[in-house]
Every structure is written in C-alpha cells, then in structure tokens.
C-alpha cells in the first residue's frame, strides 16, 4: 500500500484541527477540533508502524493507544471545566472569559 495517503490524510486533519481551534469561539467546539488534531497524530503514529522500521514492532499502535487514553482524560477534565464555567457564567464562549480576579471572587 502507498502509505503517503494516510500520512497526507493525517496532515490535512491536523491542519483542520488547527484551523478549528483558532476559528471556533465555543469552548466545546474547540475541544472537538483538539480531538481532530489528536486523531491526526494517532493516524500518523499507526501509519508509521507500517512504513518506518522500528526496533520494537507495533510501537506506533501502543503510542496511539496511549494517546487515546490521554484524550479521554483530557475530554473528561476539559468538559468538567467547561460545564462548571457554564454553571457560573451561563456562557461557553472562550473569547468572553474574563481573566481579572476581581470578578472571579464575586462570581465564585
């Protein structure tokens, strides 16, 4: 098989993820774009298993599994933060997150 196809697919997906993270204002949509990037990396890792001769065969698959676990943890904590934020401010728009601490004290 021509491994350049999955590699390019991975590259394009990563680019789409970058675009999404920069473009989206909704925090959950940003998380979705991050998932796209993680999956692009996974795809490249798994493809590397086929194309790159490594000392340990199947290392790419192992790494992909690790990344999937990391992504699950990331989404769990990330969504907990987003939902907590929504409960406090009723918004999920990342642009409008106020970083000054005075307001934080009032709301919290």
């Amino acid at each position: 098989m021509h491994v350049v196809i999955p590699y390019v697919v991975g590259a394009l997906l990563f680019a789409l993820g970058v675009y999404g993270v920069l473009r989206r204002r909704n925090a959950i949509l940003v998380l979705m774009a991050v998932e796209l990037m993680l999956n692009a990396v996974n795809l490249i890792l798994v493809t590397a298993d086929v194309s790159v001769r490594a000392v340990l065969p199947g290392t790419g698959g192992v790494f992909a599994l690790f990344v999937i676990v990391l992504a699950a943890a990331e989404v769990g904590v990330g969504l907990a933060i987003v939902l907590q934020f929504y409960r406090m401010r009723r918004i999920v728009v990342v642009d409008e997150v106020r970083l000054d601490t005075d307001e934080e004290r009032v709301a919290g």
Binding site: L22, E35, G58, V69
Partner: protein
Amino acid sequence: MTVADVLLLALGAIAVGSGALVVTSTHLVRSGFYLVVSLGAIAGLYLVLGAELVAWVQVLVYVGAVVVLLLFAVMLTRAPIGPSADLDRPALPAAVIGAGVGLGLTALFVDAFRWTRFPSPDPGTAERLGEQIFGAWVLPFEVLSILLLSALVGAIVLSRPDIGARKAEDA
C-alpha cells in the same frame, strides 16, 4: 493502486471531508455528529493499516464515550436546531495558519515517502500489542493509569458543586 489503496483513499476522503465539516459547520450539534463520522473513518483507516485493536479501541473510546461526552456537554449548555450565528471568529487568520500547517506537513510527508509501496502488515495484532504494552512500555502504562485516576478525581471535584462550595467556605 491496490484494493488497500482505494480503501485508504475513500476512507481518508470521508475523514477529511467530515473533519472539514466539523470545523466549519454552523450547526453546533451537527459538528459533533460529523466528528463521529470522521473518527469512524479514521477507525476504518486503522483497520486497513492492520491495527485492528487500535481501531476498536478508537470506536469504543472515541465514538462510544468521548464524542458522546462532547454532545452531552453541548446539549447541557445550549443546543439550538439550525445554524447559530456567533460560533466563529473572523476566518482569515485561522485559515492562513491552518493552510500553512496543512501545506507544510503535506509537503513534508509527500517529500519523505513519495509514491513508494510498503507491504501490508499482517492483521491480528492483539497479542503482539499486549506483549508490547506489558513488556517494553509497562512503566508509561502505569503512569497513564495514575494520570487517568487523577483525571477522574479532578473531573469529579470540578463537577460536584458541593465539594467546591465547601472549599470556598474554608478559604
């Protein structure tokens, strides 16, 4: 062009197409559903690439859990049917950076691998993968399990208002 190549092309097209819809759709919930399609197509790519176990873990964890959590969060915050107006920032800078990254990476990969053929790997790698994880990679594996545990505790602490409130009173 072999059967595997055709499959890779088709699945890759689906993955990239629905991935593009994920980041451009103005329908909040629909982009979540497009993400399901995209991740499913990537699982198909893993299957073609001979990583069967990774493919099913992808379906189990991503499609069955992560995306559902995302959709869940969308529906708990706000989920209008139909397009929402205020989802996006101005597109130009993001498009420029995204296109730059995409073109750069694509050029890199195309230059590195050209149109060379590699033999298809033999499927059925559950045993091999298990030996890898519990042999060479057992330490990272254990570290990951601690990370998962702390993420679990962290998510519970964050989402339980009663725990947070008590902390605030103490401080």
